[in-house]
């Protein structure tokens, strides 16, 4: 197991480097370029050449990449000329908001979806299963910006009980001191996740209930509760572990649409703005963080397979 983890960590570094190379090359293939985005459509060719020279964008791409890597190794993610701030401090400002949104909504989703899925599987094809299924389908099928707008219309316009905007502050303490403002954005993200998790959970529990080991456990006289919790639940959590692993990078990539609807500029908005103004340092910085989170998430998902399903062995 230790060998497996060590090997995966080495692979992870390779993946992250691969990602930075891909992104670096793609960025330099984009039409326009940062100078045009920074100086505007009326900049003279000389001004553009000067800007590119000053920023080092006129050097060969491999040289630029190497310089960027050297800086990265010292923990320097670069500096955004557009926003006149270091990438690290920009991320530091935005990260708390996205963290609150994604962590709260994922926790809410897990707490709600796992029991829902089990109940549905056990009572499958009964009215309660159909009712939960109906709502899961509806929420899953609703585009987040539509769901957000409907929630705002219902809870802020017709029944004015909740604010239509998330708390407007970049400090964690201030945001958390206004929990009412967080309810609608967290709910917008969480309802989609609940719908998704509970579908997978239901499928997975039904599949496991038909397995031989369940029959064996019953034959040995185990009660329904023991069979469900000790045998079925453990094996049924495997798809959820994968989905959770896959959702880890959302902490750094953000939830752009929900952030936009509730005016809560987090990582998604930072990346979006950077992409539109071709702010290379920000895009590269966020990509590295998302890349790291992704490889760590998928490593954790693999470890979860082994922990949850004893049939899986890593050679």
């Amino acid at each position: 197991m230790t060998g497996f983890i060590a090997r995966r960590l080495v692979q992870s570094i390779v993946v992250v480097l691969l990602v930075t190379v891909i992104v670096f090359i793609l960025l330099h293939l984009l039409p326009g370029g940062p100078a045009r985005a920074q100086l505007g459509p009326r900049a003279t060719p000389i001004a553009i050449a000067n800007f590119n020279h000053e920023m080092g964008y006129d050097r060969p791409v491999p040289v630029q990449y190497w310089t960027w890597l050297e800086q990265l190794a010292t923990g320097n993610l670069g500096f955004s000329v557009k926003l006149n701030q270091s990438v690290l401090s920009l991320i530091g400002e935005r990260l708390p908001k996205t963290l609150i949104l994604t962590v709260l909504s994922t926790l809410f989703a897990l707490v709600v979806a796992i029991p829902l899925g089990v109940v549905q599987a056990v009572r499958r094809n009964q009215p309660s299963d159909y009712a939960i299924t109906f709502w899961a389908f509806v929420f899953y099928a609703t585009p987040p910006f539509f769901l957000g707008v409907v929630l705002i219309v219902v809870f802020s316009v017709y029944l004015p009980i909740l604010p239509a905007e998330a708390p407007q502050s970049s400090s964690l303490g201030v945001i958390l001191s206004q929990p009412a403002g967080l309810i609608l954005p967290v709910l917008t993200l969480a309802l989609l996740t609940v719908a998704q998790f509970s579908r997978y959970m239901r499928s997975s529990v039904i599949e496991n209930l038909a397995e031989d080991y369940v029959r064996t456990a019953r034959a040995k006289g185990a009660g329904e509760w023991t069979v469900l919790v000790r045998h079925v639940l453990r094996n049924s959590l495997i798809p959820i572990a994968t989905l959770l692993g896959l959702s880890l990078p959302a902490i750094f990539s953000g939830a752009l649409i929900t952030e936009a609807v509730f005016n809560f500029p987090g990582m998604g908005e930072l990346f979006w703005t950077a992409a539109q103004t071709q702010d290379y340092p920000i895009m590269l910085g966020i990509t590295v963080l998302v890349g790291l989170a992704t490889v760590i998430g998928s490593l954790l998902a693999d470890l979860a397979y082994a922990a949850l399903d004893p049939r899986v062995r890593f050679a």
């Binding site: 019953r218 998902a301 049939r311």
Partner: protein, 298 residues
């Protein structure tokens, strides 16, 4: 025996005999929710493709004197901010939403399933190399890939399908590979090798069919995801430019008028998306039940 298929006792005769295909089809047909799902999809296909033949509207020329009219006899669902008839636009917009959604999902699921099954069954270096590629692509933010692809070419239906398939085959690949990791240790898969069957046979005849539950459930979510991704792209201004339309464009355009009371610009396209996506999920869910032979008494 209480929690396992309580409905088994009531199994009709039709499910016990006949070929595997006949049993699959009959189980599918007995599911009323599946019928509802198929019904909704068929209705929308008729609405989008036959509708414009019966209900003629001009979806190309702007008519500003008819802008934002409420529902009336002439315009049952009113008009939008440049005077297009909303009902007619719903028909035309549905065509591209459905085409992009279904095509992208099929492409992504087929490719992802094969990729995951091969990686999981092969194991070792092949698995490692194949999954590192998936990891690397997953690790590039989807938004970045979408922005990149939309900025190098003029948005059109074909490009949208490719873009969405490119970011969505990774999910099924990982899920199927997870299942293949477990399946390859099962006795019936090992016996394939003992009996001299090649790896392609094991993957195509045993691993992929046994992962079908996951694949089918995932494929329906993929159609849902694709239609929703189109909507999200439209919200971000990366959709297909007017006068072409899709439900996502119509909806994201409509929510600009949330506080103006133009409800007919918001709820019809929103409900169309929700209904179609729900319908695909109902169909997929019923397919899951009918494919899963282990849940049936033989």
């Amino acid at each position: 025996m209480t929690a396992v298929p309580a409905d088994d006792a009531a199994l009709p005769e039709s499910r016990r005999g006949g070929s595997a295909l006949a049993r699959t089809v009959s189980t599918f047909l007995e599911n009323r929710l599946a019928a509802v799902g198929v019904g909704i999809v068929v209705l929308f296909i008729l609405f989008c493709y036959l509708g414009p033949l019966l209900y003629h509207t001009d979806q190309t020329h702007i008519e500003l004197s008819d802008a934002t009219l409420g529902p009336s006899a002439a315009h049952p669902l009113g008009t939008n901010e440049v005077g297009y008839d909303q009902l007619g636009r719903l028909m035309v917009g549905g065509q591209s939403s459905l085409e992009v959604g279904i095509a992208a999902a099929l492409l992504a699921t087929a490719f992802g399933t094969l990729w995951g099954a091969i990686a999981g069954y092969a194991g070792g270096f092949v698995d490692a190399a194949m999954m590192r590629i998936v990891d690397a692509l997953l690790a590039v933010p989807a938004l970045f890939l979408l922005l990149f692809l939309s900025s190098i070419a003029r948005p059109n239906v074909g490009l949208l399908i490719l873009v969405i398939a490119l970011i969505s085959w990774l999910g099924p690949a990982r899920l199927v590979r997870g299942q293949a990791l477990t399946l390859r240790t099962r006795d019936y898969v090992r016996s394939v090798r003992l009996m001299g069957g090649g790896p392609m046979r094991a993957v195509l005849r045993h691993i992929a069919p046994n992962a079908i539950g996951t694949v089918v459930v995932n494929a329906t979510f993929q159609v849902a995801d694709a239609i929703l991704t189109v909507a999200a792209l439209s919200f971000l201004g990366l959709g297909i430019p007017p006068p072409a339309a899709n439900w996502g464009d119509m909806l994201s355009n409509g929510i600009n008028y949330t506080y103006d009371g133009y409800w007919w610009l918001i709820y019809p396209p929103g409900l169309a998306i929700v209904l179609v996506v729900v319908a695909f999920n109902l169909v997929g869910d019923a397919l899951r039940d009918s494919f899963d032979v282990r849940l049936r008494r033989r």
